[in-house]
Amino acid sequence: DFMSRFNRTYNSPEEQRRRLLIFRQNLATARALEKAGQGMARFGMTRFSDLTEEEFRAQLLSPMPGHAPRPSALAPSKP
């Protein structure tokens, strides 16, 4: 269902097995999150369900350190 819905193909049967394991772990995480939310939110299969947390971070996210220097404002005239 996941592979057809999100148009996924894998290079080898080994890779497919590995992705299935990740998928199962992710579904378990999603169920636990949903339980913690006590009915206020639904978590489950998304197009990111075959990615590990590290892969998800690397592909979609980018760190924004809170302690980074913040600019005061734009200068009044353009360079």
Binding site: N26, T29, A30, L33, A36, G37, Q38, M40, A41, R42, F43, G44, M45, T46, R47, F48, S49, L51, E53, F56, R57, Q59, L60, L61, S62, P63, M64, P65, G66, A68, R70, P71, A73, L74, K78, P79
Partner: protein, 212 residues
Amino acid sequence: APPSCDWRKAGAVTPAKDQGQCGSCWAFAAVANIESLWFIRHQELYNLSVQQVLDCSRLQVACEGAFPWVAFTVAWMYGLTPEEEYPYTACQNMCEERHRAVAHVQAFQILSSDEKRLAAHIAAQGPVTVGINAKLLQFYKEGIITKNMACNCDPREMNHAVLLVGYGLEKKTPYWIVKNSWGPEWGEEGSFRIYRGSNACGIASLPVTATV
């Protein structure tokens, strides 16, 4: 602040775009902020070019992330072009300066992290770009990410930029309405809702907005 606010209902928010496999959320969130503010001020809703921001950012690797004010600086220097004239490719290319600009930025400001003041600012002025720890969003489908769930994401670890487009209250749970950049198929038509009032997942840690 009024009890609720949703700039989508006012037609001030373009449909969610998809950043693909490029860490360009900072550009999407900042451009979405400019799109909405430009509509609120000029009653013209443009899909503006995120690609122009990536290409003209002067960053070494724009797909590895940056802060939203980098995008505001690009918009301030060049003005922003419509998306259809400078389409998104999910990778950084050379800056093309020949395109016409339809929206301009005068300045930007970093806002207070106080969520009541932030809500008042959004209701009065328009959507605001924020950082967030996006850990929980990998499996999000719909509903409100509650305070309990937010215990699983460290508010100090911001790794994604999004746009606060409004707020509300459901079953006594206050929430923010947040526009994401993972396409309209993801979440609630490209958006998600998260608890408002406890800096859930760092949602109020770094609010920043342009002035148009």
